[in-house]
């Protein structure tokens, strides 16, 4: 079996063994969204106005929730250091892990956002734009929070620290996505901003695995 197939088989089995990691962020997202009308106002015009932005931010937080410990258990079990002995560049293996993580932990989140959209009476065309921004932007967000997770592997309170470190990189993605949502609400052209978001994700997907592998090496070097 090739190393890639072995990696994929292992990641799939780990995802199946930890269903909570997939469902907890989904519950979190639905919980936040269902609280918004209660805390704010059930006025559907107001909710439709802010709904898409609320859903976007809640999805970002849910994504951070399930990515902050991306490498933690492999690191503390000592399996991560075994990756260095596989006959493949570490950055390539990290890239595979990030792709599988996005498919199994982030895509389910995106899939339930239409339900959240209905709950906040977001208009259909804005909802479609919302889904598109999430599909295009979440690879970048997954990469950045994965990098935060890798950088803080060695420290005990790694979760929140990793998020803090990566915050500046989330900001442009959020601003661009918000721009798309505002334009979608106005009914103006969203393609240029979507292209920028896509470019962000592509650059992240190419460069971040290299940075993650350097961070992992650094942390493995510092541990026993």
């Amino acid at each position: 079996m090739s190393i890639e197939k072995r990696m994929l088989a292992r990641e799939l089995k780990l995802a199946a063994a930890r269903p909570g990691d997939i469902f907890k962020p989904m519950w979190f997202l639905m919980l936040v969204i269902s609280m918004v009308p209660l805390a704010l106002s059930p006025d559907s015009v107001l909710l439709a106005d802010i709904g898409s932005a609320m859903i976007w931010v809640a999805t970002l937080l849910a994504l951070l929730l399930n990515t902050e410990h991306l490498f933690q258990s492999d690191f503390s079990d000592g399996v991560l250091e075994q990756w260095l002995f596989l006959d493949r560049p570490l950055a390539w293996l990290v890239g595979l892990k990030l792709i599988v993580h996005w498919l199994f932990h982030v895509v389910p989140l995106i899939c339930i956002t239409p339900i959240a959209g209905l709950m906040l009476s977001v208009p259909t065309d804005v909802l479609i734009a919302l889904l598109m921004t999430l599909v295009v932007a979440t690879p970048a967000l997954t990469c950045f929070s994965g990098l935060g997770a890798a950088l803080t592997l060695g420290s005990s309170r790694s979760g929140i620290l990793g998020v803090l470190v990566m915050m500046p990189l989330f900001v442009p993605v959020v601003i661009l996505a918000a721009g798309v949502l505002i334009r979608a609400t106005d009914g103006s052209e969203i393609l240029p901003l979507m292209a920028l978001l896509g470019a962000f994700s592509l650059v992240a997907a190419t460069l971040v695995p290299i940075a993650v592998s350097a961070a992992i090496r650094l942390n493995i070097g510092g541990s026993n």
Binding site: K13, D77, D87
Partner: protein
């Protein structure tokens, strides 16, 4: 399987960690058939030295080569088992080994029988006892094609029978032209090894 002759050269390696000099200008060479036990008190740098040779800890000063080639080129010839569990708790014994060794089910199952884990292949690692978990990690030795074995405290949590089985395996490995470095505080009875004593350098 017979290995090609392999040599491991450690020359003038020094290590300082947290402002403490662990070892200084350490040089030795190992060839096919050698077994080296790295000994020394707790904190003497045994694990650090093994991790350096395995390429997990950066060599700050000095050179480590395998067959005159830098370590990074020959990673896949090294099998390192550290003192962390080395297996994922949420996966079954067989899934862990299939990932780590790349071998198919029959080979891995045979390895599990050899380490006394017959019938445990579908158990999750978190359901095993500590000694069984250790056996699971060590089962990789039974399906390894790497000539250089680096074992950090391999005897921890093993019972007498497993210690003997492991000794036999290490002997068979070096007889095939492999070489083995390990650390332990127990003296293996049936191994013919040399000892490298790491002490504190002041």
């Amino acid at each position: 399987m017979i290995f090609e002759p392999v040599s491991l050269n450690i020359s003038q390696v020094s290590c300082e960690r947290d402002d403490r000099l662990l070892f200084h200008n350490l040089s030795f060479a190992l060839r096919s058939g050698d077994i080296l036990r790295v000994a020394g008190p707790n904190g003497a740098g045994k694990t650090t030295l093994l991790r350096m040779i395995a390429g997990l800890f950066e060599v700050q000063d000095g050179v480590i080569t395998i067959d005159q080639e830098p370590l990074s080129e020959r990673r896949h010839q090294v099998l390192y088992i550290g003192h962390k569990p080395q297996v994922s708790r949420d996966l079954t014994v067989i899934d862990n080994l299939k990932f780590l060794t790349g071998f198919d089910e029959p080979v891995v199952k045979q390895a599990l029988i050899d380490v006394g884990l017959r019938g445990y292949h579908d158990s999750l690692v978190k359901e095993l006892s500590q000694g069984q978990g250790r056996r699971c990690a060590l089962a990789r030795l039974w399906c390894s094609e790497a000539p250089i074995w680096i074992l950090d405290e391999p005897y921890t949590a093993l019972d007498v029978t497993m210690v003997e089985t492991l000794d036999r395996k290490i002997n068979a490995h070096v007889a095939q032209g492999g070489l083995c470095l390990f650390t332990t505080h127990q003296l293996p009875q049936s191994l013919n090894f040399e000892t490298l004593e790491l002490g504190r350098v002041d």
